[in-house]
């Protein structure tokens, strides 16, 4: 408990938020799992850096967006054999944040360095970009403490993640500079936003919207990381509810269905501060209505432990892929059947 209080103080200080740490759900059943050893077979002289994004396509191929010397996007087959590199050296790759694959197997990369969302078709060709990279000739962006300018419709501020509804509308969580979620139509035209450039902790306000997912009804799930909660919106980005008993929501994932599950990761914070391994690192499996079905995983550096889970893939709700920042690794987790009910 003492550690927990220390952690609360640490979080309050580190995020600058004035809201109280929320109580996590208790008596949550543990879901047993195995982590597949030696998952990704990298060719000689090819290395992952920080694994920021992982996603699978309909064939089970695995896409990893990583910060190595340069930010790079790699494709592996369902057995983990290396297939190819996508978008090598392209103008939008500077500092990886997320990769997602849409229902048509297009590959979307979200780069928080260039402020761009890049859509590759399954052949790996760029077919659409959202956002605009600040002109390089302007040099390094000033990192002042000045408040960000008003969030523009088509200019993103260190975006974090992307998702789609069944109609193909595009939802972007944006991000570290802005604190909003933007809805674009399938052709990239602005439709709506929730939040703004300003951080806040009320409904429809965000403090570091860090991940996003959309269910089959078009509801939008946002990992509101520094507000220690997950917010749920309808398709027009009107607030519905929030789940605040799951720790810090770093990343969210909704499985395809027909019975859809929601996953959220209370990732252990970067830096391994004392006590953090004891109070964070787990992933929650939930019903869409917020009922917690179980939890799995824990902070740790060995296989099966998590070292800052950054993004995850849940195309198969029993086979979860996680990308870890501080272990430079992707893991495939095989969840085993559990017994016992849920708790809310």
């Amino acid at each position: 408990m003492r550690n927990y209080l220390v952690l609360c103080g640490f979080l309050l200080l580190s995020t600058g938020n004035v809201i109280a740490e929320k109580a996590k759900a208790t008596n949550v059943p543990e879901i047993p799992y195995d982590s597949v050893p030696n998952l990704l077979k990298l060719p000689a002289n090819l290395y992952l850096g920080e694994a920021m994004g992982v996603a699978t396509n309909s064939k089970g191929h695995i896409f990893v967006y990583t910060r190595s010397a340069d930010t790079r996007l790699f494709e592996f087959d369902q057995k983990g054999n290396y297939v190819r590199e996508i978008g090598e050296g392209n103008y939008g790759f500077e500092f990886a944040h997320s990769v997602r694959v849409d229902p048509d197997d297009n590959i979307w990369a979200v780069d928080e360095g260039t402020n761009m969302v890049i859509k590759f078709n399954p052949a790996g060709k760029v077919v659409m970009v959202i956002g605009h990279r600040p002109d390089v000739v302007a040099g390094a962006l000033a990192t002042t403490n000045a408040p960000p300018p008003p969030a523009g419709k088509y200019i993103l501020g260190r975006p974090t993640d992307v998702a789609w509804d069944p109609q193909g509308n595009i939802f972007v969580s944006d991000g570290y500079v802005n604190n909003r979620v933007v809805k674009y139509d399938k052709n990239g035209r602005f439709l709506a936003q929730a939040g703004s450039e300003k951080a806040g902790n009320g409904p429809e306000q965000f403090s570091l919207p860090h991940g996003i997912a959309v269910d089959l009804k078009g509801n939008v799930y946002v990992a509101d990381r520094s507000n220690h909660r997950l917010q749920v919106f309808d398709n027009n980005l009107k607030f519905k509810t929030s789940y605040d008993n799951i720790g810090d929501s770093w990343t969210v994932c909704v499985s395809p269905g027909p019975h859809q599950y929601l996953f959220t990761s209370n990732s252990n914070p970067n830096g391994n501060a004392p006590g953090t391994w004891d109070t964070s690192g787990e992933i929650y499996k939930m019903e869409l209505d917020g009922t917690i079905l179980g939890r799995f995983g824990h902070a740790g550096k060995q296989l099966g432990g998590f070292q800052v889970v950054h993004m995850m893939d849940c195309r198969n709700p029993n086979e979860i892929f996680v990308a870890e920042i501080e272990s430079w690794r992707v893991q495939k987790l095989l969840l085993k059947s559990q017994t016992g009910g849920g708790s809310k």
């Binding site: 090598e88 050296g89 103008y91 605009h132 990279r133 390094a140 035209r189």
Partner: protein, 348 residues
């Protein structure tokens, strides 16, 4: 200079200004007609141009300039590449790979002798490649070092900018140049551009002749010259984007007239041949794809013949057009910054 001011007030705006309805030109588009090798991804398509054989050249911002920490200075390299395709879109080759000056692509043009001219905004250089792809003439000089964080963008040369004090007006020290064109005698004209506000003229051997223009909105002043083009009579058309006009000069820099009501011209192209027409793009800024974006077609007396396109991400829509090639009047190539692509347009 004082005597010019009354003249400015008397200059009749060309008919474009009074035209109320502009006919729409029907057109079709082939998106990405150029077949890149899988290992190369087209970035911002800053420049696109064709040669006499129909080969297509693209100068693109791809990757990013890298700052290396040298012993006595940080210096920049990389970030842009020049590619050649044949008229069917088949990849031919890369030109100027790892060139000293390829940092932030701005424009590529092909002269009547099929030399390929590249304008780089960050190295502030104009590079002439002969048709074989070897460097033949250089204008400007890349800065020996970069300052991190970068210098203010619009600082004049010689202050916080590049080059020694006083540089950048009567010389070939450029500040973010944007475009290059030639008259029938082979004289070279450079729009300079975004940092400076002038047009510089050199003879065909690259010797400085003169320059004109300064920052402002009066006649012969500029606010961001995004491009230039020269007609068969040697008149110089300058896309004065910030002032939302095309200024027209004779080859000595004497102001002749201006064209308004074509938005903020960001890319210019003059067709060759006896009956020349001018294309000018009212390109949308990257932060707004819901307005502007159309390309105007004009006769050289400033009459708007028609317009086509609008801002957007779909085929036949434009994302911040930065280059137009119009070697053939009804078959255009446009290079887009916002959509990272080249479109080949057929006008009907």
């Amino acid at each position: 200079m004082k005597r010019l001011i009354p003249v400015l007030l008397l200059v009749a705006v060309l008919p474009a200004g009074s035209q109320t309805s502009v006919p729409e030109i029907a057109f079709d588009s082939v998106v990405n007609p150029l077949n890149f090798p899988t290992s190369i991804t087209l970035g911002e398509a800053a420049g696109v141009a064709t040669n006499s054989k129909g080969d297509v050249f693209v100068y693109t911002r791809t990757g990013h300039p890298t700052i290396s920490l040298g012993t006595s200075r940080p210096f920049a390299h990389g970030g842009s590449r020049l590619f050649q395709f044949d008229k069917t879109g088949k990849y031919v080759r890369e030109i100027g790979k790892d060139s000293y000056a390829f940092l932030v692509a701005q424009q590529v043009r092909v002269d009547p002798q099929d030399n390929i001219w590249v304008v780089d905004q960050m190295s502030s250089m104009v590079i002439k490649f002969n048709p074989e792809g070897r460097v033949e003439l250089l204008l400007g000089r890349k800065s020996e070092s970069e300052q991190v964080p970068a210098r203010p963008l619009d600082a004049p040369a010689g202050r916080a900018g590049r080059g020694p004090a006083g540089a950048g007006q009567q010389s070939d020290i450029f500040q973010r140049p944007t475009d290059v064109a030639w008259d029938a005698a082979g004289n070279i004209y450079v729009s300079d551009g975004l940092g400076n506000s002038r047009i510089a003229k050199f003879d065909k051997n690259g010797k400085f002749v003169k320059s004109w223009g300064s920052r402002g909105s009066a006649q012969s002043q500029f606010n961001k010259i995004n491009g230039i083009a020269i007609d068969a009579q040697g008149n110089v058309y300058a896309a004065d984007a910030g002032n939302k006009r095309i200024q027209i000069f004779d080859g000595e820099g004497n102001f002749k007239t201006q064209i308004e009501n074509v938005g903020a011209p960001a890319a210019l192209c003059l067709t060759p041949g006896p009956r020349q027409v001018l294309y000018s793009s009212n390109s949308n800024p990257p932060e707004d794809i819901d307005n502007d974006g159309e390309i105007f077609k004009l006769s050289l007396d400033g009459k708007i013949l028609g317009k086509f396109g609008k801002a957007g991400k779909l085929p036949k829509e434009f994302g911040t057009v930065n280059a137009i090639d119009c070697r053939r009047e009804n078959e255009l190539y446009v290079g887009e910054l916002g959509n990272w692509r080249v479109q080949k347009l057929t006008l009907h």
